[in-house]
């Protein structure tokens, strides 16, 4: 089993549109995993039909039993997150601030504090309109642990791969360079970097690439909207050459991206543009590079 992870550092570069197109172009030997759990969009193009839905519990939050509390102030003193409120000797938890560390629970002399599990989201296994299974998730609003939910999605995807004897997991990764993207990258066989020739595109590519280098994962590059700014485009090509990143494809600035999205389709389903051919060649190249 091989894991192909598509990431971009910067948002809005076309990562999900491109990943969805690969999902369409691939053989039936893949499982799709949407690891952009903060703002998952893959389902808009895949029309998932839910097979299994599970709650995702991960973090904890403190609850103070008002009848037991003696107002000793210990919890207030130890909390580093300003999560305990104190008004007229009445102590309560500010849930948005509670980190779930349980320090207050441990120091409470009368056991007035208990830690309860927090519902941090949901994850799903679905059939898609492409007849390829997809594992995806929804992070609870304002919750933490998106990194752990990403890890859960990937683990479930692995199980689905084994169960149905598939060959690849195609991962739509998370933005940034922090905890969710580190989680997206762990265990990756190959990383597809999507960028655009803008000052931000190049900057974010360089940051996320230094992370990939740290992990020592093989990677290839797709430059979207390459004709938007020729100078930035050349800078990106130079950067890729210098770092030895294989260039997989270049896509023109094209309204097909939005048109396809508006119809709920992938770009690879648009016969009237040459983008389909470019993406199809790109996918074949990726499969060769992965094996």
């Amino acid at each position: 089993m091989k894991e192909i992870v598509v990431i971009s550092g910067k948002g809005g570069t076309g990562k999900t549109s491109i990943t969805a197109s690969f999902a369409y172009l691939s053989e039936k030997n893949i499982v799709i995993a949407d690891c952009d759990v903060d703002a998952a969009d893959m389902h808009l193009l895949m029309k998932p039909d839910l097979v299994r839905k599970e709650d995702f519990y991960s973090s904890l939050e403190a609850v103070i039993d008002q009848n037991t509390c003696i107002g000793c102030n210990k919890c207030f003193e130890v909390c580093r997150f300003d999560a305990i409120s104190r008004e007229n000797n009445k102590y309560d938890v500010i849930y948005l601030n509670c980190e779930g560390c349980a320090y207050c629970e441990k120091v409470c002399p009368v056991d007035a504090i208990t830690m309860k599990r927090r519902l941090d989201g949901e994850w799903y296994i679905s059939n898609t309109r492409l007849s390829k299974p997809m594992v995806h998730a929804k992070l609870g609003i304002g919750t933490e642990n998106s990194g752990k939910l990403v890890a859960t999605v990937k683990n479930i995807a692995k199980q689905v791969v084994e169960l149905y004897n598939k060959d690849y997991i195609l991962v739509d990764g998370s933005p940034g360079v922090g905890c969710p993207v580190i989680s997206s990258l762990s265990g990756a066989s190959f990383v597809v970097l999507v960028t655009e020739p803008t000052v931000s595109g190049l900057h974010d590519l360089q940051r996320v690439y230094s992370l990939i280098k740290k992990f020592g994962i093989k990677s290839g590059l797709i430059i979207n909207k390459y004709d938007l700014n020729i100078n930035k485009y050349l800078e990106i090509v130079n950067f890729a050459q210098k770092e030895g990143i294989v260039e997989i494809a270049e896509l023109p600035y094209d309204e097909t991206f939005v048109k396809a999205q508006t119809l709920g389709l992938t770009m690879a389903e648009f016969e009237d543009s040459n983008i389909k051919q470019i993406l199809s060649d790109a996918w074949n190249k990726i499969i060769k590079l992965v094996n």
Binding site: G11, S200, D204
Partner: protein
Amino acid sequence: MKIAIASGKGGTGKTTLSTNLALYLSQKQKTVLVDLDVEEPNSGLFISGDLIEEQVKYNMVPKWEPESCILCGECQDNCVFNAVVKIGSQIMVYPQLCHSCYACSELCPQNSLPMVPNRMGILKYFVKNNLHFVESKLDIGQEMAVPIIAQTIKYIEQKFEENTYKIFDSPPGTSCPVIEVGKNSDFVILVTEPTPFGLNDLKLAVETIRELDKPFGVVINRYGVGNDDVLNYCSEQDLEIIAKIPNKREIAEIYSRGESLFDRISEVKTELEKIENYLIKLNQQ
């Protein structure tokens, strides 16, 4: 007044709006732009200025002192984040997992886990005329964005007066980093684009901001692409659309070069004026 510029989806134009709004407002009054997208901060690519101050930012993590440790294992039991683990006759500390709650350290009977600073990233403060710009950048390999965001907001609160416009370029998404910014703001501007992805992520962002109980409005970027679903959603939900920035290849090209739009594209300036008037009205209420 603290204004967070946020969006569920990345790449909708948060940085474009933040930088141009800050540049525009600073022509009239002291404004500070704060880049809190610490994982991928981009505002600095559009703003130049003189470097005034630089601060390395740290969070506190435990450090094991084997000499005094009696290997009782309490630290492991006291850490719910698995950042402190007893392996054989060793205590292993994983700083990336540590939330700096101090439980392991302060509850250790031998004081064998003192808290020490761990470098998270760097804060830089620039000034150009009336525009002040503060940017924080997470070091590569550091996983947690929230502590450096919180410290940066604290820095801003100490450094700038109440009546300064404070524009927060927020991280994308709906989880902890954006919550940290939202809860410390007076008003949130949600940037979206009129596409299915834009709408889906706008809905998530709206849910998030409602959870925080903060007043907010919507700015539609790339207005003219896609369809009317975002407009319809906003009117159904009774959300105020403060401004609409048109979709133009020229805008994308100017952005790609790292240049400002408000002084080059008149439609952008008109829309920024609308936002300014909205903020003035809000401030008077």
